[in-house]
Symmetry: C2
Subunit: 363 residues, 2 copies
């Protein structure tokens, strides 16, 4: 293998794949990235056996070949190099990396030993707008659970209903759902949230469409020069739609930034009580106020003006409230609830494609 | 106590003192800040018994008084409040904090219990230019030791020689010394480096002169609205000047940014060998090159052009080298050394007021 590549391209590719490589595992080669030529392209790939990411970049290849090298060293090294051309020259299992100023030899492991994810040979294929997909995934993925004892809740559900594709995640305390619009295929996929976090990290801010291909075991995402394959999560996802209330006895609409600020301040006094804050909505005053009490430190009441329908109060975890408020994107937010133990809802009054449900705490 | 203060001023004062407060100590009141009126000023103070920091701010005081409140809560709380006026109103031991939107009650501990550092009633007093002092301290303080088994090396030495004030620190592996210019008093002070780090943090970017007052036990720094008192370190400082070579068999002068870059890249291959890199200076080629070897991962040689006098090679810890290069501030740096076990020197060829010495590693 012998080729020339720009520092910028190689650095970008290593930056997107190297985090998947894991130096703490039992298989040393999983700490490496696979570097492989194919015509005048270079693919840089890493896998942890659950997911695999490949990034393709242009290169001037004079001799085809492949090798795996330590991911972290290679990434840090290329990142430290100045702009300009880098020459890669493989001699036996040693990769010679040369620039004007630097001559390095990086010890590799032969590429034959690198594990490959099985190819998806048959299955469904569809695509979705890149910007919408990215935004929707960001609004949903954090609501998934990290508790491995209920594996289905660690996934993000991709599901079509009435011709529309919805993505949803819940950890049973809160739920986020986004409508990604019409989809030509019927879809029912449960994808690890951690893989979706990796995908968000690597797809960048471009507007390339996202191409999705899947069979019973795996799903492949292709975005621009990047490919991510991940296994699917087994199991039956709960029928979350039953949770979403159809109407609310109490609703307050206010500036989202106001709601964020009063929640942040209140949460400081809620550290002792695991984030518990009580929200009171007062129709006659046109106010929403948040109260938190720390037995040792003191107490706080923070108030914001709101357009209110119906009075009432409810107790929530302030962290979930902040997560939801940050996931919304409009200037205003509508907060609705019914009884003290029934699900509450946050939504943008001007955008019906995203909703966020939080279960209340006992107060 | 009853007063009005701006969020900006109170936030700035809490930001500078609150880090000294320590909630993990045995004395609960040390986790608090002392808030105290005096005419139309408010002082905010914190102490850990070794050092005390006080920040004075303007306030509209309608009722004198004082109280201590939890430092972290108060800092986070005031930091979260919007710009504008904050009213503080003490009722028994409860501090009522009120703005347009927020009403809080913070539980305090009576100020009588707050420990006070003894006053410096007699001693020497002198001052030094603020910008020079700050720059010099930054160039020196990181070279002090954090190893408490040799307490003198955890201090920064302030010492006059031939009418000039020098500050110096060493951990016995490297040494930094700055000349702060003429000083009217004869000074010999050993000040905890940690207190000097705190001082750097609080004095900001202003150009206020630094007023220094000290007796046998303590030293007081006054800069603008901030006061810091610290105990001194006991013990006899080593005669570090004997370490500094008078001349060098090999010297290389190069762009500081080039030296930083080649050192950074080399250090990546020096992780296995505790940062050990070998520097080779070649007079005939007019080059300085740094070589590092990782038995597992590979090896690197990085080269930069330099103006060279005399050839030779020496092995150093790359972290110390980077620290020194970052502490220097000119465009160029002169690196000089003699035998393989003798001290090496880094200095700005255009500024004689700062020098940095690094002891070599056995190679």
């Amino acid at each position: 293998m012998k080729l020339q590549v720009t520092q910028e391209n190689l650095n970008r590719a290593l930056g997107s794949v190297a985090r998947v490589a894991n130096s703490r595992g039992t298989l040393p080669i999983l700490a490496n990235v696979l570097i492989k030529t194919s015509n005048n392209r270079l693919s840089i790939a890493a896998t942890n056996l659950d997911i695999a990411i490949t990034h393709y970049i242009g290169a001037k290849v004079t001799e085809e070949g492949s090798i795996t090298v330590p991911a972290r060293l290679m990434q840090d090294f290329v990142n430290s190099l100045p702009d300009g051309t880098i020459e890669l020259d493989l001699q036996e299992s040693k990769l010679h990396v040369t620039t004007d100023q630097y001559k390095s030899v990086v010890n590799g492991i032969m590429a034959d030993d690198f594990p490959v994810m099985p190819a998806i040979t048959s299955g469904k294929q569809w695509s979705v707008d890149g910007a919408l997909f990215k935004k929707g995934l960001q609004q949903v993925v954090f609501a998934a659970s990290s508790d491995e004892t209920r594996p289905v809740l660690t996934g993000v559900l991709f599901q079509t209903a009435e011709g529309k594709l919805h993505i949803a995640a819940t950890d049973s305390y809160r739920l986020a759902e986004k409508n990604l619009g019409a989809n030509k295929e019927d879809v029912q996929l449960l994808i690890p949230a951690s893989a979706m976090q990796d995908l968000l990290r690597v797809i960048g801010d471009g507007n390339d469409p996202v191409q999705v291909t899947h069979d019973e075991q795996q799903v492949l995402f292709q975005v621009g020069d990047v490919e991510l394959v991940t296994r699917l999560v087994d199991g039956k996802y709960p029928d979350y739609r039953k949770l979403i209330p159809a109407s609310f006895a109490t609703e307050a609409t206010l500036k989202r930034s106001d709601f964020v600020n009063v929640t942040k301040v209140s949460s400081l006094f809620a550290r002792e009580s695991a984030g518990s804050v009580t929200i009171e909505v007062d129709e006659s005053k046109g106010e929403i106020s948040i109260r938190s009490v720390a037995s040792q430190l003191g107490e706080n009441t923070a108030t914001a003006t709101a357009v209110v329908n119906g009075s009432g109060s409810i107790t929530l975890n302030s962290r979930y409230l902040l997560d939801a408020l940050n996931a919304l994107s409009g200037d205003e937010v509508t907060f609705g609830f019914n009884g003290k133990l029934e699900p509450t809802s946050l939504r943008d009054p001007k955008a019906a494609d995203y909703q966020h449900i939080i279960m209340p705490l006992k107060s």
